[in-house]
Amino acid sequence: MQHFHKKNILTGLLILVFVWSLFSVQWRADLFHSGGQSTFLHILLGLIQPDLSTDILQLAIVSSWRTLTYAVAGMSLALIVAFVVGILASGILTKGKTQRTAIVGFFRGLLGFMRAIHELVWAWLFVAAVGLSPFAAVFAIAIPYGGILGRIFADMLNDVPAAPINALKACGSSRWQLLMYGYIPHAAADMLSYTMYRFECAIRSSAIMSFVGLGGLGYQIQLSLEDLKYDEVWTFMFFLLGMVIVVDLWSQQLRKRLVA
């Protein structure tokens, strides 16, 4: 009963915080642009009747491919970073208490810094530094995603049950063997399914790299929006939707086979 009570208080508190946030907006009719409502209808109309002419479809396929390549390239780098730094940050390769605290602290901090800044901010920093290059997009995805994946990998490695690890230790395995035969096989399925989820996110992130001037689906969406061609906007959106659905289905199938 006591426990239940505490949870209710917290839920109430969260609702109160939400109500507080509502006071930051002055709720008047002039929140809308003067033509806002009709624009809304136009956007809805585009959703029902997307532009399916061949030019637009071709453009959509090419820009989808570009978006996909940036996402894949970024993810492949992020995976390498996450794997190396994640294993170091989990502290399973270290010996001795002081060494462990130092190494784990340093690498966890590094991962925290990498993921604290949003990928678009990274992209903007890279574009400001090296100009418009696909590498700006790839690195901008690789750094924050490496940070997130690394942190999750480290947590997963730490959550591996102790019994099989102790059994390996009792057989005299080295730390390296512990990692290869104990930790990684145990965590692999979870790691893979999380990676697939992040890949889906990477596609979205790569689509918005257009905002700093890099090509891809987002760029086309932005152009069409500026021309007020909402039907084209939705065509590109449906391509984005399609890629996300495909990756989602793929990861579902994989998870079913690996986790079960």
Partner: protein, 286 residues
Amino acid sequence: MTQSAKKLRRPFRFGFVKFSFLIALLLILSSWIFIFWVEEADFLGLFSEKNRDHTKNFLSNMAGIGVENPAFLDAEKWKQALWLTYETLQMSVMAIGFATMAMLLTVVPAARNAADGTLTVTKKWYGWLVYGVIRFLYVLSRAVPELIWAMMIIFIFKPGILPGAIALALHNFGILGKLCAEVIEDLDMRPIRSLASSGAGKVQLLVYGIIPEVMPKFISYILYRWEVIIRTTIVVGFVGAGGLGMEFKLSMSWFHYTDMTLFLICYVMLVWMVDFLSEKLRKAMR
């Protein structure tokens, strides 16, 4: 004998997992090939003299070297930036609030076990139809990134906190919906069935059977999405949806480098604060 028996039991199959692995490798390879050869991106060119100068200039500008009165040493600027941080926090809370409300309204029919009738122990003909429609809405809203929602919303609303919050809410509605529908699908059905068989009505099933089971998980997902939202507030601000991001973008356009540093400091502080808060709340919820 045992050798051949083993072989018989586990024949080599070109299974789905191997196939996926191959596809993934192919994708990675072709992506890098595309970037290097088709886009002709110059990797070594990244480290040219010119770029190094650019980077150095840029970083020293950000650090305010040789700048009179950099923004992050100015009390007035700090006051403005902290106010924006406060607004950004409000925007994020509003966004997660909207997303939660929309999710709670739709999540029960979006669960597979509600659609096929095992959850409520009564089957309705429209169950699968409603399920399909809501699931499509979830996928659509989560497939479109916040920034693109914001670009569209800004055509409808005037710049401010509200359009940003709505854009963030639209994207997170889909994600929360998916996550929370899965929570309902993974429910332990036995207590609910026993409630139903002892004559509990629909509302009673919801209040005594479902809500107590799912609420802690829902709240931990909501808090987790809140952490993500706070990181994204700066990005929806870029297109004019208020908060820190909007001012960040403005100072970017005016080349006010030290202002940008100040906003970035506030942003990172806000992210860390929210991470800390949400972790504490999640522990308290458990």
